[in-house]
Amino acid sequence: MAARVLQQCVRSFARPSLRLCTRNVAVRAAAAPAVFIHRPLSFAAESPRTRLFGQSRNSVGVFCRQYGDLPPLTLETIKERVMYVLKLYDKINPEKLQTSSHFMKDLGLDSLDQVEIIMAMEDEFGFEIPDAEAEKLMTPEEIVQYIADKKDVYE
């Protein structure tokens, strides 16, 4: 239905808006992983398109729906955020910290500290981690893998 309406607007508008409309449709039709690449295009396309639509709003109306969401997670960004939160924790020495450092064997923390670390991760990423799975996460690498699992981040 949106395609038919867009065809109608294409006949009444100039060629530049046709490019913007079809690109926007392609963005919406693409699956989620592709959105990150197409998103800069749709941002660039947005302001001229809304200006063009705004000129004749009473005849055509707004029919492209926009959604808001956080920027998509990648393994790199997850790793950076996890390491940042760990460096802020006062019982960890930032120089000694690496992705493979074991909390108990390398960094000398105990299970209570590990619970605090997992709580900080829950606050940073905004979702609950059940206790049974939380007590198995003993290195930053494992935490990154777990979050990537839960948030469906592939690479």
Binding site: D110, S111, L112, V115
Partner: protein, 104 residues
């Protein structure tokens, strides 16, 4: 084992309640965090199952007291206080009844 999981669970709920009760109050948050950690670490090497259960019960009682009886009040300017109640502390606006009706 089960007890270990219960202890860690009690620790986590205490910290979560601490964060909710002392929200935005950095000094109180830090003091409460140090106190909770200190108390837990003091009894870290306890082996008697009965004592551990008692301590877990003590921890959950503290958590209930914090959640139900502690409210935050903020100083606003000179000689003015602002109460910041949490959602679960607000009661329904029913008139006080000395002898409440028994539910059948």
């Amino acid at each position: 084992m089960g007890t270990r999981l219960k202890v860690l669970n009690a620790f986590k709920t205490l910290h979560r309640t601490r964060m909710a009760v002392f929200k935005d109050d950095e000094g109180a948050l830090l003091a409460a965090r140090l106190k909770i950690n200190e108390e837990f670490k003091k009894n870290k090497n306890e082996t008697s199952e009965e004592n551990i259960q008692k301590m877990i019960k003590m921890g959950s009682d503290v958590e209930i007291v914090l959640r139900e009886s502690v409210v935050q009040v903020e100083h606003i300017g000179h000689e003015r206080l602002l109460l910041r109640p949490r959602e679960n502390l607000l009661l329904e606006n029913v008139p006080y009844s000395d002898a409440p009706r028994k539910k059948s």
